[in-house]
Structures are given as C-alpha cells and as structure tokens.
Symmetry: C2
Subunit: 241 residues, 2 copies
C-alpha cells in the first residue's frame, strides 16, 4: 500500500529523531518494527523525514534521520473551510475528508441555525481524526482545526483571505467555477448548517467581502456540500491532480 507515515512534532536533535506516546506504541506493538527498519515521519508543519530505527520501545522510538524533505505532497493553495457545527460525527467526517483532499484549515462556526454543540472533547476528536487522515493521505502539513468561532468573529477575519466564498442554497446565480479567483492564493469557503444560513447572515458575509455561489438546484447535506466544495476548489486550482 505504498508509503507508511508516522507523526512526531519533535524536531531531530543531532540527526536523531524521537517518537513518543501512542505513535511509538503503534510502531513498536502494532506494526512490530525492528531496529534497522526505515520509516517515514512527518512533523505536521511540512517536513518529512526518512528515519532508520535505532531503538524501538512501546513508549519511545528513536532513529537516525537519513533524509529530509519539505512540503512534499502539499497543495500550492491554502484552502480554508468555515463549516457550521453539525450534529453527531458529521463535522469529523468533514475534517477527515477535507484533510485528505488538501484543505489547510477548518474553522467550526456557530451560526443562527446551528443545532449541534462543539464540546472540548468533540473538538479534540476533530483534531485526532484530522491527524489520522494526515497520515493515511501522506500529507506533511496538519490542517489547523480552530476552536468554535462565532459568525461575527469570522466576519472580521474574512479580509485575511485572498478570497472568501459562501455556498448559499438560495443563491440561483453563479456557480463556484464562475466566482473562484484562481489567483487569490488563499480561499475561505463558508458552508452553513443543515438548516442553512439566515438571509441576514448571508448579507453580513457579503458586506464583509464574501461572494455567494450556488451548488445547483438540488439540496445537499452540509457535509456533502463541504466535501464537494473543497474538491471542486482544489480541483479548479490544480491542486487535486
């Protein structure tokens, strides 16, 4: 199945890389790696190491760095999804698929019609799911998963992005391909909750500089909209093949 990747945020020291915690346990107990085996390790901020194991214990794995690469397999564009909090495990599904596709950041937002709540435990789960997806997708940069953010707070951050787009189900105008600025560099994609945005929320997003677009006449569940919008955007930007 090709490249097998592990995660360790600790930088190497004198050519030696240390992996601790559950990741060490996975290498030692589940994958049963031995001294001398070569594994791939990513630090979650863009660096990937090829490591020859020199010590394998369930709580601590050490190895000698054979090679170092930067930014491998990462998209060229920064795509951020601001997704309204969803019930159950649906936001985790969004974080998982967004990570695989190459999204740089997910901002869980609280909107007028948001039903679910994002507890600290659920937020931690989003980050765990995203880390697992980082490894399975062989990414090197871990997406940032923000703490839950009010729509008002998001509005003040809209101009930090090259372009801000909002998927609006009442929009009958342009589609994503027509409004996406291929040269924006960074894109914020805003996706509402199951019940949609209130018209006043769309007005506020537009006033802050966001552009609304249509996903067509069919009604998409929020998590389907999020993954569709992420895939279409990364695809149009040339970052998905």
């Amino acid at each position: 199945m090709g490249l097998e990747l592990y995660y360790s945020p600790e930088p190497p020291d004198g050519g030696t890389l240390i992996i601790r915690g559950s990741e060490a346990g996975h290498i030692a107990r589940v994958m049963r790696h031995k001294v001398g085996n070569v594994i791939g390790v990513v630090d979650g901020v863009g660096t990937e190491y090829e490591v020859e194991l020199t010590e394998v214990r369930a709580d601590r794995v050490a190895g000698r760095v054979l090679s170092t690469r930067s930014g491998a397999r990462e998209p060229k564009h920064r795509v951020t999804i601001a997704q309204a909090v969803l019930k159950g495990d649906r936001l985790a599904q969004v974080c998982e698929q967004a990570t695989e596709l190459g999204v740089s950041r997910v901002i869980p937002i609280q909107t007028a019609r948001t039903v679910g709540r994002l507890s600290a435990v659920r937020l931690e789960r989003l980050r765990t799911v995203s880390l697992a997806a980082l490894k399975s997708s062989t990414r090197t940069v871990l997406p940032k998963i923000d703490a839950v953010t009010g729509l008002g707070e998001l509005l003040t951050a809209v101009n930090e992005f090259g372009q801000a787009l909002v998927a609006y189900e009442e929009e009958r105008g342009p589609g994503l391909g027509e409004v996406l600025d291929r040269k924006a560099g960074s894109v914020l994609l805003v996706v509402g909750p199951e019940g949609g945005f209130e018209p006043s929320e769309i007005d506020a997003l537009k006033a802050a500089g966001a552009v609304s677009f249509s996903l067509g006449p069919r009604r998409l569940r929020a998590e389907t909209a999020a993954v569709a919008v992420a895939a279409m955007t990364l695809g149009l930007l040339g970052d998905l093949g």
Copy 2:
C-alpha cells in the same frame, strides 16, 4: 427547510395518485398530514406531482394531482460511478452522496483487490439509502444502483458511455479537468477499492477505451475519491451550480 418530497412509483389514475407502504405510514403517522394538505411526490423516473391529499391512512394515502412537472432539478449530463465494493457502510456513503450530487447510476464492481462483499441485503440497503437521498436532495430521478458487476463485464460496457475515465493513484499525468470531455453527454467514472487497482486492470480499462487521470499526490480513501470525482465532474459540466 423548503420542499418536502415523497416517493411513489405508481402513476396517477384519472388525476388521483396513490401512495402505499412505508411512505404512506410516514405521511400519515410521522408527518401527520391531513386531508387537504398539499405535498410533493416524485416517481423516481423524472416526474414530480403536486398533490392535494384526499385520503390519509397509514397504509394508503391518496390525493388529487394539482400539477405535474418533468425532470425538475436533474442534471443535464448522465454521470455514472463504477465503484469497487468497499468494506462496511462505505459504499452506502458513496451512494448517498452520489445521489445528492446528481449522479445517474452507481455500478458496484468487483476488482482483484476488492475486500468487501456485496450481499443482496447490502445491495438493497444501497438502494434504500439512495431513495432517502433522492427525497432529501429533492431529486426526481432515482439513480440506478446495479447489482455487483465484475470488472470484465464493465469492460464490455465501457463503449456505452460517451467517455470513460478511471481515477488511478499511480497516475502522475493529467488531472480530471484536463481529460474530461465536456461534450461527451454521458461519463463513466471508475474508482478502485482501498488497495487500488492492479496495473493489469488499468491496462484492461485503457484497452477498452477508458482514460486514466490523477487526483494528485495525496492518497485518498476510496469513498473520498468517489465523492470528489463526482463533485468535480458535475461541477465542470455545469451541473452543480
């Protein structure tokens, strides 16, 4: 939440439409509709009726057809996904999201590295999930979910489509946007199992006329690849906004 839709395959007779089975139970018991209420009914083959209820029982609902529309909210292009059978409920997720997005047909395929099996019960579940997605997404045409099909059988059917494309993880060449023929009318999208296609399977697909494309350097889970490919294709064809 806008349009509320029910499903009945039975054509109206003399201006009266009958709804039976669990759908009647849902209208009567769950939604507690009364005589005189107006509901939307789709027949799954493109016709949508506006119906004023004249009789509401848990096993049989009848109504007078007020208006009839054809092909509402359906995409202009026929997109088919041939998806290798996946473990657990993942193929159901593909059928659900594909239905929402506007896919016309899903062909579960058996490939060399397919792990899961598609029993009659699981196939029936795919169709149930797709029907529920039809209603929630307000589609009028129910996607066809084929019985499980061998890759060899699929090969003989490739030329029935305007274009056949296969997502291949070892492909480092063109992306979907570069190979998709916007004028093909109907597109077959082939997506492999978790373990990917064997090179000989890709060769056979190409020999049958399919074109392979890349989804980029990251490794996508099969169900993420399927929904990404469906969204990108329908988006590029102008059928997703």
